[in-house]
């Protein structure tokens, strides 16, 4: 019954009060659910590294050090090494070893979010904004143009995702900007569909009619009244989409259709380290792999938590 109440309230003009309650609910969830808390920590860590990663890394992620293919120090030596570096001013060790060009794997692993997270966040945000606006229009106005829009969006979704992204990036030039554009094209239809379905559910509600009856112009009803009530599913989808965008970005770089070496990027690092792994030099691939694995899991956990909260 309580759930029903909050839903009904959110559809009246009182929705301003809801975000606060949702914040409290989410804080409670953070304290009680380990998985959600874990996801949130990963989320903040990834954002922190995206901003500060290259600045706090002990070595330049793009410049070779003299040590080629150095193994990482044993894990039980880490506390002593950490103490020496921080308090006695010793040269920082290669925590994760170095790769076969002499690049410090640790520095590159924590600098990579600057590439991966920025691409993923920007593409996910751009496709959310674009998809939400287009979905709102498609749900609100029913005419030939929006019908065409939906058919195009259907068509885009029938494309093989990975191959389309490879084509777009490889043929337009392998750089960050083109990857963002390609991911945006791939993810926008999802948001269009999501928002449109939500808008269609909202449009027959009383408050929409009321907003119209008092003389609001159509666009104002759409953007000021319907949009805030139908954006939540897109916001939830955003977390999941960021995770998958990281996956796709690194996958593209892995197969050679993403960023160019020596850009610090997890997928590229894994791919460059792959041939070394059968020679026993596991650290070049394994550490960035753990980073990417945890990151995507974290975003999925947050996305799941938000979705559960919304239901």
């Amino acid at each position: 019954m309580e759930e029903l109440d909050s839903k009904q309230k959110s559809s009246t003009s009182e929705y301003v009060a809801i975000p606060k309650r949702r914040q409290i609910r989410l804080w409670k969830k953070f304290k009680e659910e380990k998985l959600f808390a874990f996801g949130c920590i990963i989320l903040f860590l990834s954002l922190f590294l995206a901003i500060f990663g290259p600045w706090i890394s002990p070595y330049d992620p793009n410049a070779a050090t003299g040590n080629v293919s150095a193994a990482p120090p044993a894990i039980w030596d880490w506390p002593a090494l950490f103490f020496q570096t921080v308090f006695q001013g010793a040269e920082p060790p290669h925590w994760f070893g170095t790769d076969n060009s002499g690049l410090d794997v640790f520095s590159r692993t924590i600098s990579a979010p600057r590439t991966d997270m920025v691409i993923a966040l920007l593409s996910a945000l751009a496709s959310m904004v674009l998809g939400t606006v287009l979905g709102l229009i498609a749900g609100f106005y029913k005419n030939f143009a929006t019908e065409v829009l939906m058919r195009i969006s259907d068509l885009l979704q029938a494309f093989p995702v990975f191959i389309t992204a490879m084509i777009l990036v490889a043929l337009s030039g392998r750089n960050e900007f083109n990857i963002i554009l390609a991911l945006c094209l791939v993810y926008t239809p999802i948001f269009i569909r999501l928002t449109r379905a939500e808008v269609l559910g909202q449009i027959s509600r009383g408050y929409v009619e009321a907003a119209r009856a008092v003389g609001n112009p159509q666009w104002k009803v759409a953007f000021k009244h319907v949009l805030p009530n139908s954006i939540v599913p897109s916001l939830i989808q955003l977390s999941t989409t960021v995770g998958f965008a990281v996956l796709l970005t690194s996958g593209l770089s892995f197969v050679g259709a993403g960023v160019r070496p020596p850009t610090p990027e997890w997928g590229l690092m894994i791919s460059l380290g792959a041939p070394q792994i059968i020679l026993g030099e596991w650290w070049q691939s394994i550490f960035p792999g753990i980073a990417i694995s945890l990151t995507i899991f974290g975003y999925a956990a947050v996305g799941h938590g938000l979705e559960e909260d919304y239901r």
């Binding site: 030039g173 197969v255 050679g256 691939s285």
Partner: protein
């Protein structure tokens, strides 16, 4: 009724394919890539560039190129898509259809086994977690579904190579073969009947090839099963929980039906959406298994597509996208029919 449904869906699929081919055709021509320069090299003379452009048919307008490609009002003496001809590769000069039919079954075989296995594993996991919600099995299944469903398959592929090939070999234990193809270098694949190497080798009575191929397929399939089972488990679990709470299961219970029978009813209803999801994943993997194919040097359609994309081989790119889209649409259609058979509420 069924026939009408199938015909209607086939028509829609056909329209979609036409749309996809046109979009891909113009998309790759709109992007700022220079296939001629890639083909003749950057130091080539003006005449060489001119000649290459003409031999590729790129000196026609885009519209005319499309007509040449489709095969209506064509001004070149090659057949078009209308005649079932996808063009010739610019790199190997082989007909695209030959190359695609050679590489496609390799990928199909790998992902078919992976999805069948994933489904078989996911079914009991999802069911057991739904019958005792909140139990240990349920918690494990839930975390597994969330975790595995969001993992980079290429990293797990490399991890598996490290563990099951390198580490086991170092330890002197039986280990997986090196990730260098579908068979040991000295063995030759049997002549293709179905294109599936396991089935072909059995049909030709070559048990040695069968076991060798199975050994080589083990790790790539394991990698895909690991990643793909996540979403399927999640789907089955969610649906089982939903179905078990529904009225008709309550009715079946109060009518005194044995639990095994009730579980079967619930499973039937919960399986349908899971199978739809499996079909979607199948379609995704057709073009999305590229990293796994590269890691294990499988040489399937994914490797072929990345090769043609990087060498700007336009006809090959168009052909691959078209064939992959076609196969996935056929699979979606087949699954929809199965879906309707499983779920009596769906009518055509």
């Amino acid at each position: 009724m069924v026939r009408r449904f199938v015909v209607k869906r086939l028509l829609i699929a056909l329209l979609q394919l036409v749309g996809i081919s046109i979009v891909v055709f113009f998309m790759i021509r709109l992007l700022p890539a220079d296939p001629v320069a890639r083909l003749v090299g950057f130091n080539a003379s003006e005449e060489a560039v001119q000649q290459a452009t003409e031999s590729l048919g790129l000196h026609y307008s885009s519209g005319q190129q499309l007509l040449n490609y489709v095969g209506i009002f064509s001004v070149v003496d090659e057949p078009g898509i209308i005649n079932g001809y996808l063009g010739k590769s610019w790199v190997t000069s082989e007909p695209i259809l030959h190359e695609v039919t050679r590489f496609l079954p390799i990928t199909l075989e790998m992902i078919t086994y992976a999805l069948i296995l994933a489904f078989i594993i996911a079914l009991p996991l999802g069911m057991s977690s739904a019958t005792r919600p909140g139990g240990a099995a349920d918690k494990f299944t839930f975390v597994w579904g969330l975790f595995a469903g969001s993992q980079p398959e290429f990293w797990w592929g490399i991890l598996f190579v490290f563990i099951f090939f390198f580490a086991l070999q170092q330890a002197g234990l039986p280990h997986a073969p090196a990730p260098l193809g579908r068979l040991d270098p000295l063995l030759e694949a049997p002549n293709s009947i179905t294109g599936f190497i396991l089935i072909d080798s059995l049909l030709r009575g070559r048990l040695d090839i069968f076991f060798n191929a199975a050994h080589h397929l083990m790790l790539p399939v394991l990698t895909l099963v690991f990643v793909v089972s996540g979403p399927i488990v999640k789907m089955i679990r969610q649906n089982m929980i939903r179905v078990i709470r529904s009225d008709y299961i309550l009715y079946a219970r109060s009518a005194g039906l044995p639990p095994r029978k009730i579980a079967f009813y619930a499973l039937r209803a919960a399986m349908a959406p899971a199978m739809t999801l499996t079909a979607i994943i199948y379609g995704f993997l057709l073009g999305g298994a590229v990293p796994v194919e590269l890691i294990y040097s499988i040489g399937g359609i994914g490797e072929y597509s990345i090769r043609s994309i990087i060498s700007f081989d336009y006809p090959a790119i168009q052909g691959t996208v078209l064939v992959i889209a076609m196969v996935s649409l056929i699979i979606y259609l087949a699954l929809d029919i199965v879906h309707a058979m499983l779920d009596p509420r769906i009518t055509f």
